[in-house]
């Protein structure tokens, strides 16, 4: 298993240890706003265990991915704030 994983968050390249979730990678990239709520407010993870759906973002063009449950993989393109 490779020790590190290369991905991009909002177009910026990022290298994280294997086993890092996408939610953690987004935080490592310095982002606090994961998504906009229905009324446009900033939101980030709440439950950290896949229940609350606040950590949703877009992974490889697929929207509504629960970033706290998904491990980073090489080449992943992550976009927040959509």
């Amino acid at each position: 298993m490779p020790e590190r994983v290369e991905l991009s968050v909002n177009g910026r390249a990022l290298s994280v240890p294997w086993g890092t979730t996408v939610a953690a990678a987004v935080a490592l990239a310095g982002e606090t706003r994961f998504r906009r709520s229905v009324h446009g407010d900033a939101r980030g993870p709440l439950c950290g265990m896949g229940i609350c759906f606040e950590c949703r973002l877009t992974i490889n063009d697929e929207p509504h991915a629960r970033s706290c449950l998904i491990l980073c993989a090489d080449g992943m393109e992550v976009r927040t704030d959509e």
Partner: protein
């Protein structure tokens, strides 16, 4: 409400709400009773498609008139009703269905309904998510979409009506009486000049023998995927199949909600009493939708649910006095078109009560047309 109401309506669904609104506008005092919340029965299980239909001249007259009433109402609808004049796109998969597009187009144009005929490429441009190779389609420009429970609530509770309408949710009616009143489940008698049975699929409980049957339907709603489709898209493929009114059936029907969510239908089942999900029919309904929208399967589904429509033998609603008593009115049997035809139903009721000329000829909808079945009232 201190004095007895002029009219008591059983059912706070979209049909009962529309009846209440029209009567209140006419100056009458209205009491609306429902065993559940406003719009919690069939109204919560429908798509909210406001659509002109042409299966029969009577159906066209009813839907066209009611759609006009919705258009008139639209400016006052609050955001929660999610009124969206997105239009209907009837898609033709092949040349046979395309012939139907042309027939429909001619029929609608002659009657002043705005339509556009789309050839294959135009359909693909209008709805890129459709599978390639569609023969064409018919865009019915002024068809629209609403969120039905909020629409029912608005009809009952908009500023101008609240003075004359009292809604009592959570009250079960045991009987509709020939003197125009009702008897509640707890034995209380409510007096009124006229009782309206707008209980949809449950209307036969208050009028035994009424030829209204429960027809179950399933729906699935997705998370927000704005722009996946732009019109309410409906197939014309059902033309080629046996038009069974008894067997279970499915058809491709998708609706873009103003929220960006996709509402997926539709199915029809007789003899299915409960509102649980029947995975077999849900399966068939979704497979049919995937045939038209290959990318639909990847969207995120939030909820699936089922409910019942009120079906009549001739696919037209029952609007008018019951043969048991002219102080009992029926406003039921709207099947899958109740959201569209609710407003005209209310208008026809008010026209009758006030002795006005009816908005459209009422004969095709009178309960008496179905003969003895409609008159039974134990």
């Amino acid at each position: 409400m201190s004095a007895a109401p002029d009219i008591v309506i059983v059912g706070a669904g979209i049909v009962g709400a529309a009846c209440a609104r029209e009567c209140a506008r006419a100056g009458l005092r209205v009491l609306v009773l429902d065993r559940g919340p406003i719009g919690g029965g069939t109204t919560a299980a429908g798509m909210g498609h406001i659509v002109v239909m042409d299966d029969s001249p009577a159906q066209f007259a009813l839907t066209a008139c009611s759609r006009r009433l919705w258009q008139e109402l639209a400016p006052e609808l609050p955001a929660a009703v999610e009124y969206d004049p997105c239009g209907t796109l009837w898609v033709a998969a092949d040349e046979q269905e395309m012939a139907e597009v042309h027939r429909k187009a001619a029929f609608y144009r002659e009657r002043g309904v705005r339509v556009e005929v789309l050839e294959g490429d135009d359909v693909a441009a209008a709805e890129p998510a459709l599978r390639p190779g569609m023969a064409g389609g018919l865009r019915v420009v002024d068809d629209a979409v609403v969120y039905p429970p909020a629409a029912a609530q608005h009809l009952l509770e908009s500023q101008e009506n609240t003075r004359r309408i009292e809604v009592r949710p959570g009250v079960t009616v045991a009987a509709v009486n020939e003197d125009g009143g009702v008897t509640l489940a707890d034995g209380t008698r409510v007096r009124a000049g006229l009782a309206v049975n707008a209980a949809g699929p449950w209307s036969p409980l208050l009028a035994p023998g009424l030829p209204v049957r429960k027809r179950k339907g399933h729906l699935v709603i997705t998370d927000r995927h704005p722009g996946f489709v732009h019109h309410q898209i409906v197939e014309l493929g059902y033309l080629k199949s046996a038009h069974a009114v008894t067997a279970d059936s499915v058809a491709f029907n998708i609706q873009p909600r103003k929220t960006g969510q996709m509402l997926i239908g539709s199915s029809r089942q007789f003899g299915a009493e409960g509102t649980e999900i029947n995975s077999d029919i849900l399966d068939r309904m979704l497979r049919r939708a995937f045939e038209y929208l290959p990318g639909l399967g990847r969207l995120s589904a939030i909820r699936a649910w089922a409910g019942h429509r009120a079906a009549t033998p001739d696919k037209l609603p029952l609007i008018g006095p019951s043969l048991v008593s002219d102080r009992i009115w029926l406003a039921t049997g709207h099947e899958g078109l109740g959201i569209t035809t609710s407003l005209v139903t209310g208008r026809l009721l008010a026209d009758h009560v006030l002795g006005r000329a009816p908005a459209i000829p009422v004969e095709p909808y009178l309960p008496a047309r179905l003969g003895k079945g409609a008159t039974l009232h134990a």
